[in-house]
């Protein structure tokens, strides 16, 4: 089944085509990575898919439904979850509050005005479960700002997962992490339910090649290659663009 279909998507900022006529499809359970040099339009593409930006041209379908005009929160209800490139947790609130707020967001009672928030036991239990799984239950009453950076990243991704999305969008999950912390993230992602589709943007090639079954390469807002890691690694064009012209001797993976 088709999760996401992006058709002729373009986004112009002034005279610049940040995203230029991009089309691709994702099937259920696929683990796809988007790579490309800085400024290739990766984050812009994510913003279009998740609804932070609206495209200048083109359409986006999510499980067959045209979501091009839907606001971000509606896309969350349809099953998209996103971890941002810079930590987007509520830094002054506690770990537990962050978890509960995230979980309440896609439940029907999020508009309830006169029930104490702690009365919603099912959400609370899901929150407890999620924090336990992340190994952060001990720190539930600490403000997120006091967590180490790696813990914040893990929390953000973990909460995205706790929303039980159909499509998980990860924007540079390994940015700023140590090698150990990165491999934690890799482990989390590889252990996901098989029907969860993951779209990931990252510069860490080790991580990308470990996780992704398929890689899409962007350059100046356009798709220049789309295939399995082996195909991408062998693609001369990608090597030239990504590694510079003289890259023919090195392997992409080593970069």
């Amino acid at each position: 089944m088709e999760v996401l279909k992006v058709e002729d998507l373009s986004k112009r900022f002034g005279g610049i085509n940040a995203v230029n006529d991009i089309s691709f499809r994702l099937e259920v359970g696929e683990r796809v990575a988007i790579i490309g040099p800085n400024g290739a339009g990766k984050t812009t593409l994510f913003n279009l898919i998740n609804g932070q930006l609206s495209p200048s041209k083109g359409r986006i379908h999510f499980f067959g439904r045209d979501i091009t005009a839907l606001p971000t929160h509606r896309r969350a209800h349809l099953g998209q979850a996103r971890a941002f490139q810079t930590i987007s947790l509520l830094l002054n609130l506690t770990v537990l509050d962050n978890a509960l707020l995230t979980l309440h967001g896609t439940r029907p009672h999020r508009f309830k005005m006169f029930h104490p928030v702690k009365d919603f036991k099912d959400v609370f239990e899901d929150g407890v479960h999620a924090l336990n799984a992340l190994g952060l239950w001990e720190k539930k009453d600490e403000p997120v700002s006091s967590l180490a950076y790696g813990e914040q990243r893990r929390l953000e991704i973990g909460l995205g997962l706790a929303m039980q999305p159909k499509l998980l969008l990860l924007d540079e999950p390994s940015a700023g992490l140590t090698i150990d912390e990165s491999s934690d993230i890799v482990e989390i992602i590889t252990n996901l339910r098989q029907d969860m589709t993951v779209l990931i943007v990252d510069h860490d090639m080790d991580m990308v090649f470990e996780i992704a079954e398929r890689i899409i390469v962007l350059h100046y807002g356009q798709v220049i290659a789309d295939g399995t890691p082996e195909e991408i690694e062998a693609d001369q064009h990608v090597r030239e663009i990504y590694m510079g012209v003289e890259a023919s001797d090195t392997t992409l993976k080593a970069g």
């Binding site: 971000t72 509520l90 506690t94 309440h104």
Partner: protein, 332 residues
């Protein structure tokens, strides 16, 4: 350091004790206060309600509005106009209508003001408030003959056999509305809706990404807050016997903001503490130096900003509970 659970328990008890003592004082104070003191307490309750309503938008949702007096004044003018043009004294007509008109004004202004955010939101709310101010200043129908503002408002008629309201009864009427508002607003800010407002204040784009219609949340907060400011305005015009265009404009919009900041923005009882400080310092300073009391109040405000930035309420709470409550934490 004690364990978190008992500390939390202690704080909860402390909170309960403080609220009980406060309630007891509010209930009994007319017994030993002069009628002047009673008037002052009435004034305090009205402005505490006004500041609490403002705190929903400013403290919880993080929207810095400079036009909140528009809703306060809308409530007050409703009462005054009903009296002036239709001779209506009956509380049960004027008050609900004042509430509805304040909410309606907020619903209208919110649609305009919430199209922008940050400093622009502040400017738009300011401009909308000033529009009402100038309307009230210039339209004849909105003023008593030969003056700016509407006079001749008296204490309301409650239509209860054998009861003529005096200032003591009026104090209790205000206290009832204050208490109801405290309960309703307390439940509101501790509900999933209220907690989500805090989330939106902290990071709106994240809240949208996890499924919250952030615009609608802010809009509802704006309207609810305006409606409660309207109640404060209704109660104020009966108390003051007079409403003026200034009750719609910037001069009055500043009051709840100053009170909220003085007492503790984004904490539930902070604005109430702020109102205590403001109203009583204003009163005694104006007795002391009838000309220069704003200087004293301003100086106090500066001192609070410099030495107890989280507000006097939060400062006192820390002294009493000897722990640092997470500022801006959901439990507030």
């Amino acid at each position: 350091m004690e364990t978190g659970a008992t500390q939390e328990e202690q704080n909860r008890w402390l909170g309960k004790i403080l609220v009980s003592l406060g309630s007891l004082f509010l209930l009994c104070c007319p017994l030993f206060l002069s009628s002047y003191g009673e008037g002052l307490m009435t004034r305090f309750l009205i402005f505490a309600l006004f500041a609490m309503s403002y705190n929903v938008v400013f403290g919880y949702a993080g929207l810095l509005s400079l036009g909140h007096a528009a809703f306060f004044g809308a409530g007050g003018y409703t009462v005054a106009l009903l009296k002036l043009h239709f001779g209506v004294d009956l509380f049960w007509i004027s008050a609900p209508l004042g509430f509805v008109i304040a909410a309606f004004t907020a619903a209208l202004f919110g649609i305009i003001a919430l199209r922008v955010s940050g400093i622009y939101f502040l400017l738009v709310t300011f401009a909308l408030g000033q529009m009402l101010f100038s309307l009230a200043w210039n339209v004849k129908w909105l003023n008593s003959k030969g003056m700016q503002g509407i006079t001749g408002i008296s204490l309301p008629d409650l239509a209860i056999q054998g009861l003529t309201l005096n200032t003591t009864w009026y104090y209790y009427l205000v206290l009832i509305f204050f208490a109801i508002s405290v309960v309703v607003l307390y439940r509101l800010v501790n509900s999933p809706y209220g907690v989500a407002l805090v989330g939106i204040r902290e990071d709106e784009s994240r809240m949208a990404a996890v499924g919250y219609n952030t615009w609608l949340y802010k809009y509802l907060a704006f309207v609810i807050s305006g409606a409660f400011a309207g109640i404060a305005g209704v109660l104020f015009s009966y108390y003051n016997f007079f409403v003026s265009p200034h009750h719609l404009g910037i001069a009055t919009s500043f009051l709840p903001m100053v009170m909220a900041i003085m007492g503790g923005v984004g904490t539930f009882f902070g604005p109430v503490i702020g109102a205590v400080v403001f109203i009583f310092v204003e009163n005694y300073a104006s007795i002391l130096t009838p000309q220069r009391w704003p200087l004293i109040l301003g100086g106090l405000f500066v001192i609070i900003i410099m030495f107890a930035r989280d507000g006097v309420g939060v400062y006192l709470w820390r002294l009493l509970s000897k722990v640092t409550p997470g500022y801006g934490s959901i439990k507030g």
